[in-house]
Amino acid sequence: MIDPQLLRILVALVGILVFVALNALALVYAERKIAGHVQRRPGPYEVGPHGILQPLVDGLKLMGKQLTTPKDADPVIFWLAPVMCFMPVALCMLPIPFGPNLVALKLDLGIVLILAFAGFGVLSLCLAGWGSNNKWSLLGAARSVAQNVAYEIPLLLSVLSVAFMTGSLDLATISAGQGALPWQWNALVNPLGFIIYFICALAETNRAPFDLPEAESELTAGFHTEYSGMGFGLFFMAEYANMVVVCSVATVLFLGGWNGPFAPGWWWFLLKMYALIFLIIQIRWTYPRVRFDQLLNLCWRWLVPLALVNLVYVTIIVKL
């Protein structure tokens, strides 16, 4: 006799994996299409109508490529890294409530689980850089560790401010606590928290303008310089999957989750999430990259103090 709870988690896990994988494919396509149109060119166009099959074909190409391990690299660490990069993403999706009842795993401490597993990503980047036996990769790994560790603090503080407001760490409760109309959402009640969260989310997912660990023009490809075929493919997918996670969390925490005018439901959730993803993509194709010291200055000199101030502001609101 299988525990129905376990069965539910297993089914949900498969569903989430499919959702994440499909999302990654769709987002690769969306990224290239948006980049194209921002730059006044069509983007992928030849494979399928308007190039819609391009990410699929790219995926096939990556799978067909030879996997090479650099000389003197540590093969275990080297190949563990991309797998570890992708795995926690699926776990992070478990407690996210897409709709009032559409949640894989109801947890009282859902947000803690997500934050715990989000910290996992940096480990895989670090291992990839270390295991590659490549100087550029090593620099990328060093950058990613410093960046991710630094940005986790303001991220936590801004999430904490929401938890203070709602008085709960359960994502479903936080969602439900926000009203249907935009000015009832945490993003407008607590705008500073939302901005800080968004900036930190960009940094945590290594998206431009904070894509320092892979900074193409400085470190060739940073931590994944040496990866070929699906090794690179997994890093690439994980980047988009991570985007889905941080945008989902942002939607739940700040944008009212599934709440929306007229007919609340999961479509509102997806709409908000994809709008955020669109913004992240557009930012990537608009700004130059920041320098490393500026990145850390921004974190320690601006975001951390601001997040603390915000926490005080939120407690006052809650008290009143």
Binding site: H37, V38, R40, P42, T286
Partner: protein, 169 residues
Amino acid sequence: MYRLEEIKRAARGMWSLVVGLNITGKYFLQPNVTIHYPRQEVDNLATFRGHIELIPEDDDPLTPRCISCGTCARACPSNCITVTKKKAPAPTPEEVEQGIKPKAPKDPETFRLDFTLCSLCGQCVMSCPADAIRFSQNINIAGYSRQDFYFDLIARLRSRLPKHVKKAE
């Protein structure tokens, strides 16, 4: 005071980021400028300088204007042109009787271009005394081997003719 200045600066900086997003957003909604190559082509081929080709005589589309003097071959910085003159035909019996040596025709026996070496500088076109060379407008040029780019320009001149002329020949 210093803090205040810094905060002002940061606020202005944030605004510049919004301006940037606004610009890329606007371009996102504008139509593309790409020309989809195999389906569309650019329209400024009149001044395109492709590989050289021979110009035929005005009244005879099969004979090149070329007088096989070899100036182009000497002017070429990369030595990619070879021109050989036609030999005089064997004298007919009447000519032998009259003691006339038949003249060699002016047009060249062979006119070859090694396009693998050519850098399209146009020295040959500029130096030609008979105005017999011009740039082609052939932009779709691709091949599987080096040999595909050793052009016999006389054969090319003939193959360019319309179909009915070829048949008549």
